[in-house]
């Protein structure tokens, strides 16, 4: 009957009693803590993203030198009959002088003053991949021999670094591969438009390159390695994980054995990934003799790692389906399996898919187990030519490639490591967006 919040004695509703005031103050304080916590985490997120973008974006830009090169018949095809076998005999060493000469001629034709007189001295401006690029062009178009063709060649990583501000005149003083006069030349060529920065598709589609030519290195092949690994993970962990969860959740009797299994699955989810790596090394490579460094093995190891995540997520979403739906189905005479597959599973689908994609995203970003099965390092410079090769040929994966780049001495590789992280994060973001969309699409109310 009586209002007890006013406490003993009469008090006005318009004045706050001390208890209420204290309670309100506590509530305000708690809200302030919450806002502060969120602000701090947003700040850290902003710092993280800012750093990644600032360090990584330059990797998507690369300096190119536009250069007309005379494809000298005397050097490239002595017999003059365009025989492919003869053309192939000329190695990249045969092309080097052509390019150097072309660059020198170009510099002279622009009227740029330079102390360099020998063609070889211009070599420092160009990537050592240039010769291979022109050779590939000539082999594909033998008719171009004898003509002058304009090429868009990669600049050397020092030149690229100078244009991006990574290499300064001070640092060049200690550098054997390039000196200050080269930089003067670069300045002149940049003003002329011969050297310019462009979007670096090769970084996204290319293969890793050797230590000495970071300007050529790309993520493409490692991306394919990751892709084939994810195919293995998806094809194995989704059916196994969902089947195991359905059995444990809907069919298995509640006894100590199943409790033990449940506890151990939860424990497996917490096992460090490197443990799975060494298990994979012992079982798949040393015992089963599967090929080393192959995406198939990487996928198998990551499947072991992903299974607990998928099982836990699937069981949680099966549990979340209201029992009244099961009663309804059993009540009209559906069998246990019909109940599960016609009613429970469709309702649990959004949760299962979300769990699967989160598990896959986790696997996509995993590095440690890959180190142990050899999926790291400069091991694949070409695209696999068939699907079987994709699974079985040695390859790397995106995070392992990033780790490899970060390890290398050249600062140009450091930049690429950051760039690689942007690519990886974009993939993870895409997967999360897919997870959200799938959940939206399949979500139903009951």
């Amino acid at each position: 009957m009586t209002d007890t919040t006013a406490g003993p004695g009469k008090s006005s509703l318009s004045t706050l009693d001390p208890r209420t005031r204290k309670r309100n103050a506590a509530e305000k304080r708690f809200r302030a803590y919450g806002i502060a916590a969120i602000a701090v985490s947003l700040l850290f997120l902003a710092i993280l993203l800012g750093t990644i973008i600032r360090n990584g974006l330059p990797a998507f830009q690369q300096s190119f030198i536009t250069l007309p090169v005379l494809l000298d018949e005397a050097k490239l095809d002595k017999n003059g009959n365009r025989d492919p076998a003869d053309l192939a005999k000329v190695t990249t060493f045969g092309y080097g002088p052509l390019i150097d000469k072309a660059l020198q001629a170009h510099v002279v034709s622009l009227g740029i003053d330079s102390r360099f007189t020998k063609p070889k001295e211009f070599n420092a401006l160009l990537s050592s991949s240039a010769a291979a690029e022109i050779r590939d062009y000539v082999l594909a178009n033998p008719d171009s021999i004898g003509t002058t063709v304009e090429f868009n060649l990669l600049a050397a990583s020092r030149v690229d670094g100078y244009l991006k501000g990574r290499v300064s005149r001070d640092s060049v003083a200690r550098d054997k591969s390039i000196d200050a006069e080269h930089l003067d030349l670069v300045d002149a060529l940049r003003d002329d438009g011969t050297i310019r920065k462009g979007f670096n598709w090769d970084f996204i589609t290319g293969a890793d390159a050797s230590e000495s030519r970071p300007e050529q290195a790309g993520m493409g092949v490692a991306m394919l390695g990751s892709f084939f690994m994810m195919l293995v993970v998806l094809a194995l962990s989704l059916p196994i994980g969902v089947a195991a969860s359905i059995y444990l959740e809907e069919f298995a009797a509640k006894n100590w054995l199943n409790d033990l299994i449940e506890v151990n699955i939860s424990n497996l989810a917490a096992v460090p990934s490197i443990v799975f790596g060494i298990l994979g090394l012992a079982v798949f490579i040393q015992f089963a003799h599967l090929p080393q460094s192959a995406p198939l093995v990487g996928g198998l190891v990551l499947t072991l790692m992903t299974l607990p995540t998928i099982i836990i997520a699937t069981r949680a979403s099966l549990k979340a389906v209201p029992p009244s739906i099961r009663d309804a189905a059993l009540g009209v005479g559906a069998s246990k399996m019909q109940t599960v597959f016609h009613h429970v599973l469709p309702l649990a689908m959004p949760g299962i898919l979300t769990g699967t994609i989160i598990g896959l995203a986790q696997a996509l970003g995993e590095t440690a187990p890959l180190l142990l099965i050899g999926m790291v390092g400069y091991i694949a410079s070409n695209y696999p030519t068939s699907i079987a090769e994709g699974f079985l040929n040695p390859n790397s994966a995106m995070p392992a490639q990033i780790y490899e780049w970060a390890k290398r001495a050249d600062p140009a590789y450091y930049e690429r490591a950051w760039g690689g992280i942007i690519v990886l994060l974009l993939f993870l973001m895409a997967m999360n967006i897919i997870a959200i969309l799938l959940r939206r699409k399949f979500e139903r109310r009951w």
Partner: protein, 264 residues
């Protein structure tokens, strides 16, 4: 003793379900104690009693829904048309097609109204083609007294209906598999008075074709819809007889206490 049972049986119109010395344990909890009861065909039988008296548990024994609970253990015999439903040869799935059930909370499938009704006939192969299935759906919805309300929106989700409509949809769904017995576990406890009245009217109509067993908390409802009433207390069947006589002239003092509101 035996003679008396036979006489009693003869007195009943037509026995559909007969339970003999049924005991149910949930783990160590003895939920149903020696219940023997005979339920007539084409009659509404009400199970009443205070919360936790075992009336729902006993109801769930009749279509073996207790099988789905790991710790539940059922002893004794229950026969449907003279066949022991707990015989190892009996498949509970087949039994449940003959003994339909309506639950306390309306639980339509999150599918279209049409699919809600069609699901049972589909899995039991009751329709040869789409036209037959359409007929079954229409007939079931008509007998569920909801056809006029939903006939224009059969493809809309069943979960979009009001609570009372959902419950009638669930009743129609139970009818669609052509059961012989209809079990209802407090079918009106989640409904408002108007929806309750509609469902009660429907139950009365269903009596013509089925043996209906309804568990209810409301004594008024038992009095309104049932011809026979069983009063359960603490897991035992205390009294069973004509609804009129249970409410006007109970034999057992516990029944009297319950219907006059002293226990429960």
């Amino acid at each position: 003793m035996k003679d008396m049972l036979i006489e009693e049986r003869a007195a009943m119109e037509d026995v559909k379900i007969s339970a003999r010395d049924v005991n149910v344990w949930y783990g160590d909890n003895h939920a149903i104690k020696d219940v023997s009861v005979e339920i007539a065909d084409k009659t509404v039988t009400a199970f009443i009693g205070p919360s936790g008296c075992g009336k729902s548990t006993f109801l769930r024994c009749i279509n073996r829904m207790n099988d789905t609970i790991d710790v539940a253990r059922v002893e004794g015999t229950i026969t449907l048309d003279g066949q022991d439903i707990y015989d190892p040869k009996v498949d509970p799935v087949q039994l449940r097609a003959m003994v339909g059930m309506v639950f306390q909370k309306p639980n339509p499938f999150p599918k279209s109204i049409y699919d809600n009704i069609a699901y049972g006939p589909r899995i039991h192969g009751l329709a040869k083609n789409k036209a037959e299935l359409d007929d079954i759906v229409e007939n079931s919805l008509r007998r569920g007294a909801i056809w006029n309300e939903v006939k224009d929106r059969l493809n809309e989700p069943g979960t979009g209906l009001s609570g009372g409509q959902q419950q009638r949809l669930c009743i129609a769904r139970a009818i669609a598999t052509e059961p012989e017995v209809l079990l209802m576990d407090e079918p009106c406890s989640a409904l408002d008075p108007i929806a309750t009245a509609q469902v009660e009217e429907l139950i009365d109509e269903l009596r013509a074709s089925y043996s209906v067993i309804i568990v209810t908390h409301s004594m008024q409802q038992a009095a309104r819809v049932s011809q026979r009433t069983a009063f359960f207390h603490l897991g035992s069947l205390v009294e069973y007889g004509q609804t009129d006589s249970i409410f006007t002239n109970p034999d057992d003092p516990r029944t009297e206490s319950y219907i006059t509101g002293r226990i429960g």
